[in-house]
């Protein structure tokens, strides 16, 4: 059975790129969320194996997504990867402290992301 990945990112270009990169790896089914709110609504609808989230988003930020998932009784076992920028080292540290498994810094290459995903759910 293919693994289910939830990609949370408000930029549609970035989101479809991430989705395409992951789908290329083969056995992955990607669900896209354009905002943190949308993600919160999608979470109960499927059993996700991995969540990839951007940090800077308009409604709720990615750190809050990490915190929500990691403190929620139904989701706390889902691993998370955060997408950060070179600007936000502080945010990256916080994300990892909150329980994110890995991070990747924009802009990244296709194989970098695939590598990180493999590391987390191989």
């Amino acid at each position: 059975m293919s693994k289910k990945v939830l990609v949370i990112e408000d930029s549609s270009t970035m989101r479809s790129m991430v989705a395409a990169i992951i789908e290329e790896m083969g056995d992955f089914a990607v669900t896209e969320a354009g905002s943190g709110f949308e993600a919160l609504k999608l979470l109960p609808t499927e059993k996700f194996d991995l969540i990839i989230t951007d940090i800077n988003m308009p409604d709720i930020n990615g750190l809050e997504v990490v915190n929500f998932v990691k403190t929620h009784p139904n989701y706390k076992r889902i691993p998370l990867i955060i997408i950060t920028t070179e600007r936000s080292e502080e945010d990256r540290k916080k994300g990892i402290a909150l329980g994110a498994s890995e991070y990747i810094t924009k802009p990244f290459k296709q194989d970098e992301l695939q590598e990180v995903v493999k590391r987390v759910i191989g």
Partner: protein
């Protein structure tokens, strides 16, 4: 450019980049136009920052180095601004405008030539020079000493951290707002709360938590900063589901504002105990019931006025009659206020619906492999709550049509020399007591010839019928009409515009189409702001006056008795070579026509398609906007009457239910023919 699959991210990039620049420009203009242009709402700067940040990210992934570099430098400038390290001056504003313009040029270059080779070094060095002049760093506030859940500090981004400090530095009050919602509606509910807060302060962060019932509900903590005090905040935000707490320094001595806080504290304790119900959610049916009661009261008031007039004629009562009249006038005024107030409560902005439409259009365009830019205007326009629900389906249908039949495929667009990316514009605006919603696409337009051919094919019209363009477009609304050659995933399943029009007529709305082949199509929907207000044609039959909703009237003409013929036991007239059945309203309602000149009467043509009929009346008294009021329980069962209204001269008249009258007359006719 040849490989479509490869082009996809590239075109998506252009579409998103243009969208981002649009948002940036909009915010820059808001900033420029605001009274206090040098200290704008932090959300504005942050919105611009976020736009530039995203642009940098996607340009970086696509390898457009000039866009990446400029947006990177600009991001530094904006970051310094939002983090309080750079003061906003006219020079900075000018730089922001210039940079946006340059970014626009760069994106344009990409869309034209596939590269971003424009030299922007001068602008880059201007920005860098500005960045060197930094004010002294403000002393950091000790956030750890705030009486705040430490978990919250852990999830604040650097920017949010800064906003919290900035609010403290400016001696603003900080509140923690906790609220629980259902998983289905939390986004709508939160948006509502957010828009209230941005009216008097700033949302620093929104923190979700699983809450007490994680399977069905979700809890949010909002940290907000404002100059207002707890009493004010609780009064505008309160709801039994919302808890509000003021965040202070834990040690009393370190309070930012000494003394005056004690008062607020006193108010804080009881407020956490009693329910804070300054706002309530009400089932719309309850409001309807109240509105109906008001309608009935208005009719009762008319009775009082009538009695007072009769009373005046009786000797010895004239004084009382005057008093009674005065009281009736006040009653009337207050009833009007009550009605207006109730209607206002029902109004909600269109933005949620527009969001839904945008999301659907994006999804559909993705599925159909078309690249479409969706633009929204006037989403703050308000409409009756029920109305919004009722127009959702018709609008979805129209947007779906625009994606599926309107916008051409990319190849076709390139062949036609059009912009590769199609545009769908959704707009709304209020015009008097009506709201006009438009869905405009720059697609292929409606092929009038194909419409006619299809109509002939389906037997809707004879092959030799001559049609004006407008009449041909009208055919699109005929039941069962669809020109789409293939039944696609998206639309063209036979449920057509006839249903859309029918739904809109039910709401007393109208729909028009403007179309130009190869240029595009515009659907224009006009709706009364509420179901209660509509434009009416006022007609007279005998002594009686009736109001006819104008949206179902197509024309009116003058005829004489000689024009009326009888075909199959039914009265008809000839209207442009076609027979039009007529219904004498006098006969239908048992009213004696008292027209001075029985040779001259008027026919009001109502209905559409093959359900057209002419109402014969004595006189046309003009058009007027009316407020429909319910007839009350006793009279509500009468066929053919939709309600009552009051005209300016305080006369109560009946509003005809045209749909029902047509239905009834068609039914009767069928029975007669059968019999």
């Amino acid at each position: 450019m040849k490989d479509k699959k490869k082009d996809e991210p590239y075109l998506e990039f252009i579409a998103e980049a243009e969208e981002i620049l649009e948002v940036i420009s909009k915010n820059l203009l808001t900033m420029e136009e605001s009274q206090d242009r040098l200290s704008p709402h932090p959300d504005i700067i942050n919105a611009i920052f976020r736009g530039v940040h995203t642009l940098k990210g996607i340009a970086g992934m696509m390898g457009f180095n000039n866009i990446t570099e400029l947006s990177h430098t600009l991001e530094n400038l904006l970051d310094a601004m939002r983090m309080g390290r750079l003061t906003l001056t006219s020079v900075v504003i000018k730089l922001l405008f210039e940079s946006t313009e340059m970014l626009r040029k760069l994106v344009e270059k990409v869309s034209k030539d596939g590269n971003d080779n424009i030299d922007a070094t001068r602008l880059l060095s201007d920005i860098e020079n500005t960045l060197k002049k930094r004010p002294e760093e403000a002393a950091a506030h000790k956030l750890e000493e705030l009486d705040l859940d430490t978990n919250i500090l852990k999830v604040l981004t650097e920017y949010e951290n800064h906003r919290l400090e900035e609010n403290l530095r400016l001696a603003a009050n900080i509140f923690e707002v906790t609220a629980g919602f259902s998983l289905e509606t939390f986004d709508k509910d939160l948006n509502q709360i957010n828009s209230i807060i941005s009216g008097f302060g700033e949302v620093i962060t929104t923190l979700p938590a699983s809450g007490a019932s994680p399977d069905v509900g979700i809890e949010f903590k909002l940290i907000i900063g404002t100059k207002e005090d707890l009493i004010y905040v609780t009064s505008v935000l309160s709801n039994p589901n919302i808890k509000i707490r003021e965040i202070k320094y834990q040690k009393r001595g370190e309070k930012i504002k000494a003394g005056e806080h004690d008062e607020v504290q006193a108010a804080e304790t009881p407020s956490s105990v009693k329910s804070l119900s300054m706002t309530v959610r009400v089932n719309i049916n309850r409001l309807d019931r109240l509105l109906n009661i008001v309608g009935e009261l208005v009719l009762n008031k008319a009775v009082i006025t009538h009695i007072s007039k009769n009373l005046r004629a009786i000797e010895g009562f004239s004084e009382w009659a005057l008093e009674l009249e005065k009281a009736a006038r006040i009653l009337d005024k207050k009833l009007n206020e009550l009605q207006e107030g109730l209607m206002e409560v029902r109004m909600v902005p269109l933005n949620n619906l527009f969001d839904r439409l945008t999301r659907m259009a994006r999804k559909l365009s993705k599925e159909s492999g078309k690249i479409i830019d969706i633009r929204i205007f006037g989403e703050e326009t308000e409409l009756d709550r029920l109305m919004i629900e009722e127009i959702a389906d018709p609008l979805m249908h129209i947007v779906r049509n625009a994606v599926d039949h309107g916008i051409e495929t990319q190849d076709e667009r390139i062949k036609l020399g059009k912009k590769e990316i199609g545009t769908i514009k959704l707009s709304a605006m209020q015009k008097g007591s009506h709201v006009v919603i438009e869905v405009e696409d720059d697609g292929s337009g409606i092929d009038i010839k194909r419409v006619k051919d299809t109509a002939v094919e389906k037997g809707l019209i004879a092959s030799n019928s001559r049609f004006t363009e407008k009449e041909a477009i009208d055919l699109l609304f005929a039941p069962g009409f669809s020109t789409s050659k293939v039944v696609t995933e998206v639309s063209g399943r036979g449920v057509g515009l006839d249903v859309v029009r029918k739904n809109l007529i039910k709401l007393n709305g109208t729909i028009d189409i403007e179309t130009k082949e190869k240029i595009g199509t515009k659907f224009i929907i006009t709706l009364p702001i509420t179901l209660m207000i509509l434009k009416a044609l006022i007609v007279q039959v005998g002594e009686e006056i009736f109001a006819l909703p104008i949206n179902s009237v197509s024309e009116s003409l003058m005829i004489t008795n000689n024009d009326i013929q009888t075909v199959e036991k039914r009265e008809v007239i000839k209207l442009r070579e076609k027979t039009l059945p007529i219904l004498r309203l006098g006969g239908a309602f048992d009213i004696k026509s008292k027209s001075e000149n029985p040779e001259r009467m008027y026919v009001v043509v109502v209905g559409s398609g093959n359900r057209k009929i002419g109402f014969v009346v004595d006189a046309l008294l003009g058009q007027q906007e009316i407020v429909i009021k319910s007839l009350g329980k006793i009279l509500s069962g009468i066929q053919g009457i939709a309600g009552a209204t009051e005209l300016g001269n305080r006369k109560t008249v009946l509003v005809l239910d045209i749909g029902a009258l047509i239905e009834e007359s068609v039914q009767e006719y069928k029975e007669e023919v059968k019999g």
